[in-house]
């Protein structure tokens, strides 16, 4: 079945069928390209169109209903292809090219000879035309050069440097030879999955079974050894290095166009696309390129392969989705915990709504640019401009803006949660030390919150937020301040504070905070962090510990972490998040300080020596 199109050819109305129209358009385009180099090229083309119109009109007068592909071939025999025309009309003599032709190559297109120089291509230009020029020089598909360049670039950027040098050195081509082009296409005939393998086969002129085996070998191998080894045969598929090849296949599948027109099929096989070969291919279309008929068994087998490959592809796509989620999680530096999604969102967000809006928004705002970058890379590498549908662009745009908007919404709603603060001071019981000296020591807690005061090998990495286990979050937002007692007794008190969208909420977050401490004789053990009750988000919860030492009494600190003397506050004011640190006076470890009239005074060596016997547990170290 063929559509008939009416065209206006140099002022004549010509009915022409669709396949003939394609051929005619191709022919005229090639003539146009050919004559565009010549002065008065447009005029020549017009004259020729006029003559072609005249020939067609004669044809139609002989009772043909329309112009067919056969008529086009006949017309081209009369008018001649650009190559023939050049041969017949070229002004310069041609013996030189004769010798070259005989000696060098046996190309079918006659007379087209220029000394081959390396140049930058204008026709195949993505960035600077270097790849296109190289491809034209070696007569291969520019996509291959681009992929190779990308691979070389991965080796410490060598490819990029080579590219820049060539860009600077090579001249831009003024006119480019029309060498027979070979292009990678997907071959819609003879395809098993996506036609990538048979396309490669057609390009390289080899049997399609070879690329197929290459692509399938690691897959089959891994599955085979997987079954032999442990039976979980998809595990290595998900984790192993195989995805490279599968990714390559998917990228090629996504980026290579399908060879649908006759011209593309010719390009795929590396034939010269000129008018003779086109019309010849049109005629032999139904013979040579038609797929071989498969027997029932073979087609059943290929169906099985198809199902299997699609199954594997599905699994790998799932794995890729998992990788993307993991990448996003790494953005938050949380990949180290197994249940990384939930404590974090619990820590940041207040309500379920906030939590879900946050995660969906973050995924949208990160994944869409990621996909866009991948698509861009694929386009750059293959040099083909694939049309993206407007619908896709619109949807992607809307989703991305929704994601960004959502992130802002959550951020501002979290900002509101820092509006009001609540603080309350609680006195803590403290037994008076027996020998006028109080030692303050860091308390080590194991996972259950049990105190383990003797172990000294703990780490100092207690800054900030820490995951004690998957669901318990410990916050080291603790500070210690040592001041003079108003009376003759030691006092210990703690101030708990938190933020909230209202004071009730802030109070609700602050009050349940537990300050775990211990006293053993003259030694006071202080915790290095506190845990948030389950389900409580982090809203600047803080504990300020104050130790009051009466005048004339002595205290000393042992192994207290440095940040113990820093009072940190998180403030959100007018949409800006601020972190403030306020340093208290800090006390040197293992030093004795006596509370004087105006504050603690460092005691000298003499005092230390006499008091040494009272702190025997210090001698262990």
């Amino acid at each position: 079945m063929n559509k008939i199109i009416n065209i206006n050819l140099a002022g004549r109305l010509i009915p022409i069928d669709e396949s003939a129209y394609d051929l005619l358009r191709d022919y005229l385009n090639r003539l146009k390209a050919f004559f565009s180099r010549e002065e008065g090229g447009d005029e020549i083309l017009q004259d020729m169109e006029d003559r072609i119109g005249e020939l067609f009109q004669d044809k139609l007068k002989k009772n043909s209903p329309c112009i067919t592909a056969a008529d086009i071939s006949e017309m081209i025999t009369i008018m001649g292809s650009p190559e023939q025309i050049e041969n017949e009309t070229a002004e310069e003599a041609q013996p030189k090219s004769e010798q070259r032709k005989a000696g060098n190559d046996h190309q079918a297109s006659a007379g087209r000879t220029r000394q081959r120089h390396l140049f930058r291509s204008k026709k195949e230009q993505m960035v600077g035309g270097v790849c296109g020029g190289l491809a034209s020089y070696f007569n291969i598909d520019p996509s291959i050069v681009r992929v190779a360049l990308v691979l070389i670039t991965l080796a410490w950027g060598t490819g990029l440097i080579v590219y820049l040098i060539l860009w600077a050195l090579l001249p831009l081509a003024e006119e480019e030879p029309n060498l027979p082009k070979r292009r990678l296409y997907r071959n819609p005939r003879q395809k098993v999955v996506g036609g990538v393998c048979s396309g490669i086969a057609a390009y390289a002129n080899i049997d399609p079974i070879i690329p197929r085996v290459v692509f399938a070998a690691p897959l089959l191998g891994i599955i085979f050894f997987g079954i032999l080894d442990n039976g979980i045969f998809f595990f290595p598929v998900l984790v192993g290095g195989l995805p490279t090849l599968v990714l390559l296949y998917i990228i090629l599948w996504a980026s290579l166009p399908e060879a649908t027109t006759v011209a593309e099929k010719l390009e795929m096989r590396g034939g010269t696309v000129d008018v003779q070969s086109l019309s010849q291919a049109m005629k032999s279309n139904e013979e040579g390129i038609v797929p071989v008929r498969r027997s029932g068994l073979r087609s059943a087998f290929s169906l099985l392969i198809k199902i299997f490959v699609f199954f594997i592809l599905g699994i790998i796509l799932l794995a890729l989705a998992g990788i993307i989620v993991a990448v996003i999680a790494t953005f938050f530096g949380l990949a180290t915990t197994s249940a990384f999604l939930f404590p974090l969102s619990g820590l940041i967000t207040e309500s379920e709504t906030q939590k879900w809006v946050l995660w969906i928004s973050v995924v949208l705002a990160l994944v869409l640019p990621f996909i866009t970058i991948i698509r861009l890379l694929v386009r750059l590498v293959t040099g083909r401009k694939k049309k993206t549908s407007k619908l896709y662009n619109a949807i992607a745009g809307i989703l991305f803006s929704a994601g960004v908007f959502g992130v802002f919404w959550v951020a501002s709603s979290i900002g509101r949660d820092f509006k009001t603060s609540y603080r309350k001071t609680y006195p803590l019981s403290l037994a008076q030390p027996t020998n006028d000296t109080l030692t303050i020591r860091q308390m080590i807690m194991d996972d259950g919150g049990e105190v383990d005061g003797e172990e000294m090998g703990w780490d100092h990495e207690t800054e900030g937020i820490r995951f004690r286990d998957d669901t318990t979050i410990a916050i080291s937002n603790l500070s210690l301040r040592i001041r003079k007692s108003p009376d003759s007794l030691y006092h210990l008190e703690v101030q708990k504070s938190a933020y909230g969208k209202n004071s009730r909420r802030a109070q609700l977050l602050a009050e349940p905070l537990q300050f775990i401490y211990k006293q053993e004789g003259n030694v006071l053990y202080l915790p290095k962090d506190f845990t948030l009750p389950k389900g409580h988000p982090f809203r600047g919860q803080k504990m300020r510990v104050e130790l009051q030492v009466p005048e004339g009494k002595v205290f000393r600190t042992e192994d207290l972490v440095d940040n113990y003397y820093t009072d940190r506050s998180f403030v959100v004011k007018r949409g800006k998040f601020r972190y403030e640190a306020n340093n208290y006076p800090s006390w040197d470890d293992d030093n004795y300080y006596k509370m004087g009239k105006d504050g603690p005074v460092d005691q000298d060596e003499r005092f230390k020596d006499t008091d040494n016997k009272d702190t025997t547990d210090n001698g262990d170290r």
């Binding site: 020549i44 009109q57 008018m79 001649g80 025309i85 017949e88 009309t89 041609q94």
Partner: protein, 112 residues
């Protein structure tokens, strides 16, 4: 060397001369030139005629005018310019010499 190429070389040389000669006899449009050549037994690729005409016109050897046609769009009628006429005369004398010489040479050996 293949025959086809040599033939095309031979044709190429005389093509311009033939075209100028036809135009010299009367004002013609391109399809007429082709017709006349065919009738004379000289078949060419029609596509070669148009670039030649344009080149000759650009070299100011030919000029043309448009004329309405009963059976289609207007046609280009070509005629020789003065320069073209002089050019033709030169070509004609060269051709005569060449033809005489070639005839003499080829007829000298009737065996071949």
């Amino acid at each position: 060397m293949n025959t086809e190429n040599t033939q095309s070389q031979m044709r190429k040389g005389v093509l311009e001369f033939c075209i100028l000669s036809i135009i010299r006899q009367s004002e013609v449009y391109p399809s007429e030139i082709i017709e006349q050549m065919k009738n004379a037994g000289l078949s060419i690729l029609e596509g070669t005629l148009y670039p030649l005409l344009t080149r000759l016109k650009n070299a100011e050897l030919l000029s043309y005018r448009w004329e309405e046609s009963a059976s289609g769009p207007p046609r280009k009628y070509f005629s020789l310019t003065e320069k073209g006429a002089a050019f033709y005369l030169e070509l004609e004398s060269t051709w005569k010499q060449l033809a005489d010489a070639v005839n003499q040479l080829t007829q000298a050996r009737p065996g071949s």
